[in-house]
């Protein structure tokens, strides 16, 4: 993005991104690939809505439809929403705590490439004999019976990208525990850092059960094990438990960072300190904690018995309390503030009614006997889209506008941003509000078609029309991105003017070593405090200008991930009788992976130093890109 980057050839730029261990560049990688998968998942959503626009439509065949709904859910959750949130975490969180980089820059890169290759592997299924078709929940009896390799793509792809996410989670946790700037106590951390922290802890504890479940699935389908094979003594409910022990925290892994982004936005654009900061922090922790105790509310109809259902129903209801605390604290943050309706703020404001609507239907479904009616109907489809789109996607769109200048040094157009908002927001409610009633009118989820005699035609048509509006909104956003990049008007440290936290005290985009001197944090909203004190230097610094130690870039994370990608093809075709090369591919892939890990561990990598002289040169000239 700087003058030096522009001089670089295309190949050199690609190589730079392949080997980078800089959290800001990795953030851009996450944003681009997550954004790409968001478009893929959106396209799949449009196909679904076209198919369901009229009764008895034959636009998609039954089998194809099941593949599309499976890939829509899987892509949106694992390959779009989570990576885009990881992009913001990577780009912003280390700046917010005044860290030089994340704790493990090498692992940060490895985490990205594992996610990336996992996602590519999963999507290659479309071109290699069919995508997975057992729903994103991949319930075991259907998954085991599914023909072809779709389910194998699902299990292996998610295993790989799951490792990547787990690594990212550990990395953020350690970064926040160990690398906060002097004075940045836990109770002075910005809310986005707090939510990153709790979401990372959830990743740490929630992903292993999924990985174990996926391994069982792989062993059952590819190596003849019988965890889920009923006639061999297996039990398919085990999959449901493992999946939802992961799956419910996963929802909070998505929504908590979204809460974090909105918390930042409310404070910035109300020009006011977050109301009840302490309560917001503890509500975040409580939500994360309860997230592990409610998984069986996805399984009320499985037949676990009334005691289990009642216990999980009550546990689920309790979550409404900390969530409510958050909503009211946000409302009181804007109350008495000085609200500027910028694009990010409009999203944040629109988030409140949308998310409350999604939240209350969540409580309704916690009522187990009522859930017997709502479960697996269109009501639940409406509910989780209200939570995920009304919460997470609105946060992603808001965050994109808010942090674009910090990541790329230029502002997205406010005018186009508002157009995007109105199309997306109206389209969103039009699509999903009506689905509550479809569910109550008896329409089950995951049906590829419905009869004209069921009374669902009109509402489905309305829902499909709403989806078109959402698509238009996303297209306007793309236009906005392209136009902004062409115009490329550079902005300063604090382009919104009301920044409160440390990330707004540094250049946009920041130099590759972040703060040349580690800042000293004097309280919550530390940059705001300095601004109010009239500090012309921006911040007070905790150390004199000196040499900075930086890690070396490395291609090894890319190679490790590539090895696993290759090995997965071997595992995939292992049991096919006609592919004797599968075992060789499996072994080659594993050799590449473990070989490069060995190289990494045997070759010392001590990094390099930026000298004080270079830093002074930078401060004058503005080399922000390093090598």
């Amino acid at each position: 993005m700087s003058s030096i980057a522009q001089k670089k050839g295309f190949g050199a730029t690609i190589w730079d991104f392949m080997t980078t261990v800089d959290h800001k560049k990795i953030a851009i990688l996450y944003l681009i690939s997550g954004g790409f998968f968001f478009l893929v998942g959106g396209l799949e959503a449009m196909l679904i809505r076209v198919q369901l626009a009229t009764a008895g439509n034959d636009f998609l065949s039954a089998g194809t439809y099941n593949e599309i709904i499976t890939m829509h859910g899987t892509t949106m959750i694992f390959l779009a929403a989570m990576p885009i949130l990881l992009a913001f975490m990577n780009a912003i969180m280390p700046l917010q705590i005044g860290a030089r980089d994340v704790a493990f820059p090498f692992l940060n890169s490895l985490g990205f490439w594992l996610f990336f290759f996992g996602g590519i592997f999963l999507n290659l299924s479309w071109f290699m004999g069919g995508a997975p078709d057992a729903g994103w929940t991949n319930y075991a009896s259907l998954a085991l019976a599914s023909e072809g390799h779709g389910i194998d793509f699902y299990s292996l792809g998610l295993t790989i990208s799951g490792f990547g996410t787990l690594i990212a989670g550990i990395n953020f946790l350690v970064t926040i525990i160990n690398m906060r700037a002097p004075g940045m106590t836990y109770m002075r951390m910005p809310l986005f850092t707090w939510t990153t922290f709790v979401a990372s802890a959830l990743i740490l504890l929630a992903f292993p059960p999924l990985t174990v479940g996926l391994f069982f699935m792989v062993f059952d389908r590819m190596f003849g094990a019988s965890f889920f094979a009923v006639e061999m003594g297996g039990n398919t409910i085990i999959w449901e438990h493992l999946f939802w022990i992961f799956g419910h925290p996963e929802v909070y892994i998505l929504i908590l960072p979204a809460f974090g982004i909105f918390s930042e936005i409310f404070a910035i654009f109300s020009r006011k300190r977050l109301f009840g900061y302490t309560a917001l922090v503890f509500a975040t922790i409580l939500i994360g904690f309860y997230g592990f105790m409610v998984w069986a509310h996805h399984m009320f109809t499985v037949g676990l018995g009334p005691t289990a259902n009642a216990v999980f129903a009550l546990a689920t209801m309790i979550i409404a309390v900390p969530t409510g605390i958050k909503i009211f604290n946000w409302l009181l943050t804007i109350w008495g503030g000085n609200i500027s309706f910028t694009t990010p703020m409009i999203y944040a404001v629109a988030f409140i009614p949308s998310f409350v609507a999604g939240g209350v239907t969540g409580v309704m479904q916690a009522i187990a006997p009522l859930d017997y009616q709502l479960h697996d109907s269109y009501f639940i489809v409406a509910h989780f889209h209200y939570v995920i789109v009304g919460g997470v996607v609105l946060a992603i769109l808001a965050g994109t506008h808010l942090y674009w200048p910090k990541m790329f040094g230029t502002m997205l157009s406010e005018k186009l941003g508002k157009w995007t908002f109105w199309f997306f927001f109206i389209g969103f409610h039009l699509t999903f509000f009506i689905q509550h009633f479809l569910g109550l009118m008896g329409m089950p989820r995951r049906v590829y078609t419905f009869g004209a005699d069921q009374g669902w035609d009109l509402f489905n048509a309305i829902s499909s029309a709403g989806a078109v509006l959402m698509a238009i909104g996303v297209i306007i956003l793309l236009v906005n991105v392209v136009m902004t990049s062409i115009k490329n008007e550079r902005v300063g440290n604090d382009p919104w003017g009301d920044g409160r936290t440390l990330e707004w005290a540094i250049a946009s985009p920041p130099p590759f070593y972040n703060f040349a001197q580690t800042p000293l944090v004097r309280g919550l909203d530390t940059f705001w405090i300095e601004k109010m004190d009239g500090n012309k230097k921006g911040m007070i610094y905790a150390e004199p200008l000196g040499d900075i130690h930086m890690p070396n870039g490395s291609i090894i994370p890319f190679v490790i991930s590539l090895g696993m990608f290759i090995a997965s093809f071997g595992a995939l075709y292992f049991l096919d009788g006609d592919k004797p090369w599968a075992l060789a591919v499996l072994i080659i892939g594993l050799v590449i992976t473990f070989g490069s890990m060995l190289v990494r561990s045997l070759k010392d990598d001590l990094g390099f130093h930026i000298t004080k002289a270079e830093l002074l040169e930078d401060a004058k000239g503005g080399n922000t890109d390093g090598h």
């Binding site: 160990n178 504890l205 059960p209 174990v212 479940g213 019988s226 965890f227 039990n235 045997l602």
Partner: protein, 208 residues
């Protein structure tokens, strides 16, 4: 951090594993990884308990009939001892006594390899009885749980060996001290998991 800096037992810090920022990060990160590993094994244990003795109708195998405690008890003792020897190794690491550390690590590796050998013998024995991996849900769950632990042992052994060979000539420094420390931490974790396997799978299997 200078990799070439020479230390004496006097200048060597009391906690070399956390004396540098990198060391501190690794220390915390590794504990977190162990938390994730704990959840992994908890999932495997839960699955094993759910599928214990479950198989196709007429399956002849059951935990009570299959497992033999004497061999497993010997394996347990060997692995527990190896955990103790790795503690000695770390004691010498903290005193900057490289040779003694290498020696104790060598003993640890030998004990670990013996354990692994016995486990392979045990699995082989069961397979010969007809209790193969694909035999039943019970066998799948058993081999996956115990085998995952075995894979961890193998990884731990490889890690120790790689560290010992890589650093054989250059001795201890602030760059590799955290690595030795974490490998030994990992070894303790493996040991603890085995104690649970011994109790839940074997003892509870044979007795009730």
């Amino acid at each position: 951090m200078d990799i070439n800096q020479r230390y004496t037992p006097q200048s060597w810090p009391e906690h070399p594993e956390t004396a540098t920022m990198e060391g501190k990060n690794k220390f915390i990160g590794f504990w977190l990884l162990l938390a994730a590993e704990t959840v992994t094994f908890a999932s495997l244990f839960a699955t094993y308990l759910a599928l214990k003795d479950k198989g196709p109708s007429g399956m002849e195998f059951s935990a009570a009939g299959l497992f033999e405690l004497p061999l497993v008890f010997a394996m347990t003792m060997i692995l527990l001892t190896s955990s103790l020897t790795s503690v000695y190794a770390m004691y010498h690491m903290k005193n900057h006594n490289f040779k003694a550390m290498q020696a104790w690590l060598g003993i640890t590796v030998l004990l670990g390899a013996t354990f692994l050998g016995l486990e392979i013998y045990e699995f082989n024995h069961y397979v010969h009885l007809g209790f193969g991996y694909t035999n039943s849900a019970f066998s799948s769950a058993f081999y996956t749980l115990v085998g995952t632990h075995g894979a961890h042992v193998l990884f731990g052994l490889s890690w120790f060996i790689a560290l010992m060979l890589r650093n054989a000539k250059r001795g201890l420094n602030m760059y590799n001290a955290p690595k030795f420390y974490l490998a030994s931490l990992y070894w303790h974790f493996i040991d603890v998991v085995w104690v649970f396997i011994f109790t839940v799978v074997y003892l509870m299997g044979v007795i009730g």
